[in-house]
Amino acid sequence: MNEYISLSLILFTIGAVGVLVRRNAIIVFMCIELMLNATNLAFVSFSRQHGNLDGQVAAFFVMVVAAAEVVVGLSIIVSIYRARRTTSVDDANLLKS
């Protein structure tokens, strides 16, 4: 059991560090997905451990939200790229152009 939790922690940390250090918006985005999936893994593990389905339900919710987020987030990134020819999150520090 601990292995699953440890893996989840490691994945989450990788994602968090990635969000903090990388500039490319796509990669930041992937890192966020990584963190979400790490939590999903933790949910499912705990669900298994406790023997009920609550964690699995939560994981499904996270997946749905993550899918929606990808749709909105990617389209924002694409439109920022179109407008500014860059995907660096540091360059997009103003809401107005």
Partner: protein, 623 residues
């Protein structure tokens, strides 16, 4: 017929409104409609007067309430009009002289493209003035009071393209408003004290009120009267008002409107009877104005302004008489009527002179007009004899009675009035000499000529009235007629018999005439205003520095106050508001600093925050 007094007002009002609204096509006959309306009012007024004559003395007051004007809370005002002995005389004066002046204006304003509007304003004036004298309630009187003020404003400023005329009109209105302040407060005081502002009710209640109330009422009404009648200290607008067309000066600023203050005092006789302080104030105001106006009349070279000074002075006589109480009310009204005749006559005469002199008003450019304008000269001469008080002309009777009554009150007051009579003779003789007698001083290009008939006929009619107006006094008719309205006059015992006093007055008048003749016939009159003159003449020319005084005491401080307040409003009050807003803005600028817009620093803050929360939770659970 006697209940139709509203029609007296309605006819000229309707005509005035019609002339204002009707388009250009009525330019050809608008003046005829206006004149006809005024004449119709006069005819109606004369018929009503005749009916009044046929009634018993006690039943000659006819009140008609048309509708409820205002009714809110305890405040109740009926649109009431009263046709009684006093208002009947005024109706005849206003519509009679008014109609003559309408006729005269047909000629005088013939070449003015806005003549129709001029007649509309004149009609509105007649309607407002009739409202003033027929009103049965002080608030209705106030309606007429402000109505004549509006008409006066419109007519003084009739030639609006002249900045001086526009300024004079505004000045007249604003100075009058200061007087109106007194009127308005007086009406409020009546309402608070007596619960009504109906004239009859107030007069009935006044004897029962405390001295403070009657004195305040009297002084407040006097303030109103001072504004409208150009009495000191609110006299300054009248001379400027001469910017208006001359018929306006004759009708409004000589014969009718400016005497409204006298009417007000006489109408409110119960209030003044109840307060000696207020009566004395009226006497002082009258006496001071009488002398001040005469002084100004002596110094002015502008024929209309000299006449305006004379008007001030003569109204001073009326005020003085009105301040004498029941002894003087009837004589005040009597002088008011005779003055209406001869002063309107002389103003119209002056207009006729100006008409012939290309609108020049400077008497130093006149001289020797006697032969050029015989009718004007003859009619003006009759007015002259009337105003200085040569027996048997109208002014003699009325002024004689006032001076007599003044001596009955107080020796010094009488002496002041007597002195005024002498000065009147002096300045009027000066005016006659400079205008009609002496040698000619007009320039080559001016061709003096007599005015057309439409202008001379009213002159002749008014001259005739000036000559015979004194018959009203026959058998003390005017006193008896007005007695039910103003109360019975007990007769004062004089130190000398009345006939001796009359002789003294006539003598003083003769001295004034002779002095003027000696002074102005001694050497030829300069065609330009001499600059080196005595301090008295200079003061007179500057209208006794009344304007300068107003400027220094009222106008300039107000202007500075206004400027200061504008500054205060912008920098102080609004400055505070915007200051608060600016400080808030500064605060948010400061708080904005951490919001760099860098996503990664936000993320770091988030993680940091989460870490701290988890640490805290751990600390709590472990502890």
């Amino acid at each position: 017929m006697l209940d139709l007094q509203w029609l007296l007002i309605a006819i000229p009002l309707a005509s005035g409104a019609l002339l204002l609204v009707w388009g250009k096509e009525s330019d050809r006959f608008g003046h005829l409609i206006g004149t006809a309306a005024s004449a119709a009012s006069f005819v109606l007024g004369a018929i009503m007067f005749a009916e009044l004559l046929g009634e018993n003395a006690e039943e000659r007051s006819h009140a008609v309430s048309l509708f409820t004007w205002i009714d809110a809370g305890r405040f109740h005002v009926e649109m009431t009009f009263v046709f009684d002995q006093l208002s009947a005389l005024f109706v005849l004066l206003i519509t009679g002289v008014g109609t003559l002046i309408h006729v005269y204006s047909i000629g005088y304003m013939a070449h003015d493209e806005r003549r129709r509007r001029f007649f509309a304003f004149l009609n509105i004036f007649i309607a407002a003035m009739l409202t003033l004298v027929l009103a049965g309630d002080y608030l209705v009187l106030f309606l007429g009071w402000e109505g004549v003020g509006l008409a006066s404003y419109l007519l003084i400023g009739f030639w609006q393209h002249k900045p001086s005329a526009a300024a004079a009109a505004k000045k007249a209105f604003v100075v009058n408003r200061v007087g109106d302040l007194g009127m308005a407060l007086a009406i409020m005081l009546m309402f608070a004290q007596f619960g009504t502002s109906a004239i009859e009710a107030v007069n009935a209640a006044a004897p029962g009120a405390t001295d403070t109330v009657t004195t305040s009422l009297g002084l407040l009404l006097l303030l109103g009267a001072c504004g409208k009648s150009a009495q000191v200290p609110l006299q300054s607008w009248l001379l400027d008002a001469m910017e208006g067309p001359t018929p306006v000066s004759a009708l409004i600023h000589a014969a009718t409107m400016v005497t409204a203050g006298v009417y007000l005092v006489v109408r409110s006789n119960a209030i003044f009877d109840a307060s000696e302080v207020a009566r004395n104030a009226v006497i002082v105001v009258g006496l001071v104005t009488l002398l001040a106006g005469a002084w100004i009349g002596c110094a002015k070279d502008d024929i209309k302004k000299a006449l305006a000074g004379s008007t001030m002075s003569q109204i001073g006589y009326m005020m003085l008489a009105a301040g004498l109480g029941p002894a003087g009310y009837a004589f005040a009204i009597f002088h008011l009527i005779t003055h209406g005749f001869f002063k309107a006559n002389m103003f119209l005469g002056a207009g006729s002179v100006m008409h012939g002199m290309d609108d020049d008003v400077d008497m130093r450019h006149y001289g020797g007009l006697r032969s050029m304008m015989p009718v004007t000269f003859a009619t003006f001469g009759l007015g002259y004899l009337a105003i200085i008080g040569v027996p048997p002309f109208a002014g003699f009777w009325s002024k004689d009675k006032i001076i007599e009554a003044a001596f009955g009150q107080n020796f010094w007051v009488g002496l002041g009035a007597l002195l005024g009579a002498g000065v009147t003779a002096f300045y009027m003789t000066r005016l006659m000499i400079m205008t009609f007698l002496s040698e000619k001083r007009w320039r080559e290009e001016v061709h003096p000529h007599e005015s057309p008939r439409v202008m001379t006929w009213p002159l002749i009619a008014l001259a005739a009235l000036s000559a015979v107006g004194g018959i009203l006094l026959l058998g003390d008719w005017v006193s008896e007629w007005l007695e039910p309205v103003v109360g019975h006059a007990e007769h004062h015992e004089l130190a000398v018999p009345a006939i001796v006093l009359t002789l003294i007055i006539t003598l003083v008048v003769a001295v004034g005439v002779v002095a003027a003749v000696v002074f102005y016939r001694r050497e030829p009159i300069a065609a330009e205003t001499p600059s080196s003159v005595s301090i008295f003449a200079r003061a007179g020319r500057h209208e006794l520095y009344g304007n300068e005084l107003n400027e220094a005491v009222v106008v300039r401080p107000t202007r500075h106050l206004t400027r200061f307040l504008v500054w205060l409003d912008g920098k102080g009050i609004d400055g505070f508001v915007t200051g608060v807003a600016d400080r808030l803005g500064d605060t948010s600028q400061f708080l904005r600093k951490p919001q760099t817009g860098l996503v990664r620093s936000y993320a770091l803050t988030m993680f940091g925050g989460v870490a701290i929360i988890i640490l805290c939770l751990l600390a709590v659970t472990l502890a």
